[in-house]
């Protein structure tokens, strides 16, 4: 049974004046550039990709294996294959950008004072870039230390 769509009430959509993020009523105005549209698409595209990468990662590392067997040697063996390094790099990039974009949305929704918004966004981007760099660095440059272990 289809729901009858009621006629839409007439709403005047306030577009943003330059630099302003809110209308006087506190509602977010309709964005004037395409960035938020791309962000919206990015959430969905990266989300669908993360179904494979994040859920795959959980299944491999937490169901098929588990934290009892994960140690240095396990990671060294895994990263011996460039395929898994690539997998982890893609996962790192997608999960981090998807999450950062989410928090960016939260900041625009909840932090209304301009000063705090600039502060929290700067903190977010700095932290995000830092973790992206150290994460990518270890995945790309990792060289296994040969451990002398009698088995």
């Amino acid at each position: 049974m289809a729901i009858q769509t009621p006629e839409r009430p007439k709403v005047t959509v306030k577009t943003a004046t330059k630099g302003a993020r809110w209308t006087k009523t506190g509602a977010r105005p309709r964005p004037t550039n395409a960035f938020e549209l791309y962000s919206w698409y990015f959430f969905r595209v990266s989300g669908i990709l993360l179904l494979v990468f994040a859920l795959g990662h959980l299944a491999i590392m937490h169901l098929i294996n588990n934290v009892e067997v994960v140690n240095y040697d396990f990671i060294a063996q895994r990263w011996a294959s460039p395929l898994w390094r690539t997998f982890d790099l893609i996962l790192l990039f997608l999960a981090l950008t998807h999450g950062l974009n989410g928090v960016r949305t939260l900041i625009y929704d909840y932090v209304q004072s301009k000063g705090w918004r600039v502060f929290s966004l700067s903190a977010l981007y700095t932290t995000g870039l830092f973790f992206l760099l150290i994460g990518a660095q270890v995945i790309i440059t990792f060289q296994p230390v040969v451990t002398a272990r009698a088995k």
Partner: protein, 118 residues
């Protein structure tokens, strides 16, 4: 289906699980960074994750990711198929149903060998 109804609480949970997953992701990148420093650093820290309390948190994390993933699919369905709104109740129960069907067995499987409170 909004304000105080089903969709709102799924939306609230989506935001909460999203923030929680990102917070863990930061921690997880930091611990993986130790792999680059050598076996002693990494193995000393990963020892923590084997604690029963962390095993339980790990299950909660899997739940957060599962919920975020399944609810995300519901959102995408509502966004891209105009007729999906007619099935929003089924989508609501489907989301919760699929979540528990996957999360509970995953928990039994993940936590079966955990030695609690030691």
């Amino acid at each position: 289906m909004y304000r105080g109804q089903s969709g709102m609480w799924l939306w609230v949970l989506h935001r909460l699980t999203g923030v929680g997953i990102l917070a863990f992701l930061f921690l997880h990148i930091a611990d993986t960074y130790l792999v680059g420093l050598g076996p002693s650093y990494y193995n000393d820290l990963v020892f923590l994750y084997k604690h029963w309390a962390f095993r339980f948190l790990e299950w909660l994390l899997v739940g957060a990711v599962l919920y975020h993933a399944i609810n995300g699919m519901r959102v995408i369905a509502l966004d891209f198929w105009e007729s999906a709104i007619n099935q929003h109740k089924q989508l609501y129960y489907g989301t919760l149903g699929l979540f528990f069907v996957l999360w509970i067995p995953a928990g039994i499987f993940m936590l079966k060998d955990v030695k609690w409170f030691v």
